[in-house]
Amino acid sequence: MLLPMKWLKDYVNIDLDSKEFSDKLTLTGSHVESIIPLDKGIKKVVVGKILNIEKHPNADKLVITTTDVGEEKLKIVTGASNIKEGDYVPVALVGARLPGGIKIKKGKLRGEESFGMLCSLDELGISDSVIPKEQRDGIFILDKEYPLGTDIKDILGLNGDVIELEITPNRPDCLSVVGMAREACATFDKEIKYPEISIKNGEESISDYVKDIEILDKDLCNRYYAKVIKDVKIESSPLWLQTRLMEAGMRPINNIVDVTNYVMLEFGEPIHAFDLDKIKDKKIIVRRALDSEKITTIDSVERKLNPSNLVIADSEKPIAIAGVMGGLDSEVTSGTETILIEAANFNDKNVRLTSKSLNLRTEASARFEKGIDPNLCEIACNRVCQLIEEIGAGKVVGECIDDYIEKAIEKVITLRTDKVNRLLGTNIDKNDMIDILEGLELKVEEKEECLKVTVPTFRLDLEAEVDLIEEIGRIYGFHNIKNEPLRGALIRGEKSYDKVVEDKVKSILEGLGMNEIMTYSFVSPKVYDKIKLSEDSEKRKCIKIMNPLGEDYSVMRTTLIPNAMDVLARNYNYGVERAFIYEIGNIFIPKELPIKKLPIERKMLSLGMYGDVDYYYIKGVVDTLLERLGILKCKYLREENHPSFHPGRTANIIYKDKVLGVIGEIHPDILENYHIKERVYISELDFDTIIEIANLERQYKPLAKYPAITRDLAIVLDREILVKDIEEKILENGEGLIEKVDLFDVYMGKQIPEDKKSIAFSVTYRSSERTLKDEEVTKVHNNIISKLEETFEANLRS
């Protein structure tokens, strides 16, 4: 909200500069986001009168004026077409400064000298969004005669500051100058001066003009207060009124509309003025709209309504959408003679829903949807009447119509003073509490150790004791509360075992050169096609977001593989030569579809890489990780049917009877889908299971005391036979003497038949009890060779 300091000072005596004022106000809860100076560096711009206008000899679009600025008469060339002789206008003299640091110099326009510049409001730094429509194009013509040479800043009020405030949703009462004046009074311990509202009671009665006002839907309209103004003369508002509106960020329209807006800014009550002559049968009905009923609002848009929208209607049709916007037909126009001033109290939720469903947010709806004190209707309506009279825009007709369904009453809250200090951690004296509460216009009555606090109706937010504690706290100042360390038993901060394992995994992977990535939990449903999952794949059973930001973010992921592929593809596309990535993140498995209960969130680990790597590289990473986690004896079982992977280079990783995950080379079709022209390796592991089976305990085993004997062994056998099976066979026949079996060569090629491979192991024999003899090792070793020959039809390679 924009709050002009000059306006505020009408109600409260502030003698601080804007910066200090803002800093202190911020500390009591009204956050000042910025301070906007109004003069914007304007210098040497004065009032001038156009005496004479002549054609420019060399340019059709320019004219030469003689402009009287008091001390001298200046020749000024301008391109403006809206001026006439006798107009009073702002003149930037030679040497003047305009907003944005523009400097005015003596100049020559098409050969004619010019000694200054006639200014538009825009050039004086006023935002295009608030400049009256008739003033938007061309030089600003002043509303009346002013002493020539007067500084334009004094006339347009371009001095002082406007402060921009962030008002929290619980304080709709602060969306007004009066509301902020109350806050300022409480903050700076001042007395508020409310505007004195008095209206002459006209001779006639409103009943002579309005037949009936009827609220049909009382749940949506708690009060309808109205007055009538006759002999209305529509024209521009006086300049003081216009400048106030502009400073507060509103565009002046005409005197009547401006007054209603002025009062809305002043008190926070939106007011609407109807052209009474356009209201059929002079009847006002507040009712729900009929299905498909239509109204054209003052922004000239036709809107289709439904029964969830509240309207103000005459005997025939809607004339306004309640609390949102008036209708075009009954709008106040230059020909309007009699008006109805409406100050009503509409249901906040309903205004919010209507405004949302019509996608129509206005100053009025923004205020109604947060809630307004119904007692404000009368005050605001009378204030409008008073101002209309004051500026001579019309005559107020006597009496009013006031349909008030449920009168707002002042709440009474009991406040325990010790509770205040116990919650805030302070020692605020009871009398100081009373002062603070009374400073906020709350009435306080002492009752033993408690205070009986009566809350004015404009404070809709104060309902419970803690609300009052907050009021005391914020006015006392949070910055004045002295810090105190937490007390109580010494507690040790802990993290769960899961987290300990996760940290360990990250450290291991980091050591293995893997980089951690973070990707969105939601993905496009298309990713399942992209990684070619079969139509009936369980992973396609994913949770859909009702209102996604777009298809790309519309379902909760059920595998991390597409995310990893995305990241690899992006890096490949960026020209990154090698990428090694991992992510630990949740997948979301519905318990049923459509879901009724929260889904299972399962933690998964994905690993991915490309660039000078092969299957054995990623397997090395996984093997090392599992080994370091104490997950030993995992089996790799060939997987030929995973649609995302290379059928000959993929395995499922099995631990006991659990599938830990999958590892392999990505299928070329999928690489094509991701536009990657290099081999990519991915593994996805069930991280929750890893946590479950990880064993971080370690027990020392004595170091070997006796020497080892190492024998090499090279065999040629069918290439389909897995190394793992051969290793197992070797160990099986080692008679307990084998310490380890190391594979050191695999050869396929010219030297051996095409369907064969040559494999070489180095077998280490060692006993923990004695020094082995050569002969006994030879015996075991030879036996192993013959067992291999037997089992795998292997030949010893010489």
Partner: protein, 340 residues
């Protein structure tokens, strides 16, 4: 004979002088001292000597042998040194060539930030807990006293799965879970993913991260809250950082405050970055747990009180590492990740 021996010594000594490698030195040793060496030859003729002469010559020969041996050893030593010296000189390398590329992986900057925050709070006695990303409307809004028509509940603010299930919009539902499942005293923090209906731009992402903190015990005060936050901010950003507690509104805390900290750029003096205010705005929201929320979780607000706070991790990571675009955090460009 004496002369012969002396001559052998002289000759040997002379020859040793000119030697410059181990092989020649060994040859020389064999030549003079070997079984068929010159000195041995001479000694073989000792039988012819008289009993009187024999010990004298014998002693002399031994002395000469020792002298030659000593000289050979000395030469050997110096030769060895010289050879090593030459070798080392030859092995001289360009010590400026970059080291072998031993690749270590990198942790994501957001995770590093989360770990740092968690560690700070663990040292302050907070336990680290987690909550699910998909939550109930009840935990995310209702139990947190969020008004029924609060705009944050709108479809334009929150991602819904069903009417009752959503993607959590903040980490605050963890408060509800912790309070419902445990009895005070409670002292926890919880970091994690959160989601809001924001299109991706330089400063917004539909997925972001928060850290939630909650303390519930007897006699917990706003003064405790302030001390906790101040300690945390100083731990994270340094002793010279100050805080400002600005009264604010959150449905689940009362009183509520937003915390500004000294501008990261000017440390509070006032600069362009902070609009001259000296403050970096809205780093953290906090307040005393609303009694209604305590009640919703079955905790007696007359016996217990508590405070809660929440902060945006992405923003802190961006401030810490000088990252100017939130998209970088989720693009996972290696060239970005490898900087951490």
């Amino acid at each position: 004979m004496k002369d012969k021996i002396s001559k052998i010594k002289e000759e040997a000594m002379e020859e040793i002088k000119d030697l410059n490698n181990m092989e020649d030195l060994e040859e020389l040793r064999i030549k003079f001292l070997g079984k068929k060496g010159e000195l041995t030859k001479v000694l073989r003729g000792m039988g012819k000597l008289s009993n009187k002469e024999r010990p004298v010559i014998g002693q002399m020969a031994n002395e000469v042998r020792q002298d030659i041996e000593k000289e050979i050893n000395n030469t050997k030593e110096s030769l060895k040194k010289e050879i090593q010296k030459k070798k080392l000189e030859k092995e001289r390398i360009d010590i400026s060539i970059p080291g072998k590329n031993i690749v270590l992986g990198h942790r994501h900057p957001l995770v590093k930030t989360i770990e740092e925050l968690e560690n700070i709070f663990m040292n302050m006695g907070f336990s680290v807990v987690y909550g699910p990303e998909v939550e109930t409307v009840e935990n995310n809004f209702d139990e947190l006293n969020s008004p029924e028509n609060h705009p944050s509940r709108d479809l334009t603010d929150t991602f819904y799965i069903t009417e009752d299930i959503l993607l959590r919009t903040h980490t605050s539902p963890v408060q509800i879970r912790v309070m419902k499942e445990n009895k005070p005293p409670l002292r926890i923090v919880s970091a994690g993913r959160t989601f809001r209906f924001d299109d991706v731009d330089d400063t917004h992402s539909p997925m972001f991260h928060q850290l939630e903190g909650l303390v519930v015990d007897e006699n917990v005060t706003m003064a405790n809250l302030k001390e906790t936050i101040d300690t945390f901010i100083k731990e994270l950003f340094g002793e010279d950082m100050h805080t400002r507690f600005r009264p604010h509104y959150f449905p689940f805390t009362e009183p509520s405050a937003e915390v500004d900290v000294s501008c990261f750029n000017c440390k509070g003096k006032g600069c362009e970055e902070c609009n001259g205010t000296g403050w970096s705005m809205e780093l953290l929201g906090c307040g005393m747990v609303n009694p209604k929320v305590l009640q919703n979780c079955g905790i007696d607000p007359d016996k217990y009180s508590g405070f809660a706070f929440g902060l945006g991790i992405d923003r802190i990571a961006m401030v810490k590492y000088g990252i100017d675009n939130i998209r970088l955090l989720f693009e996972n460009d290696m060239r970005f990740l490898e900087q951490f």
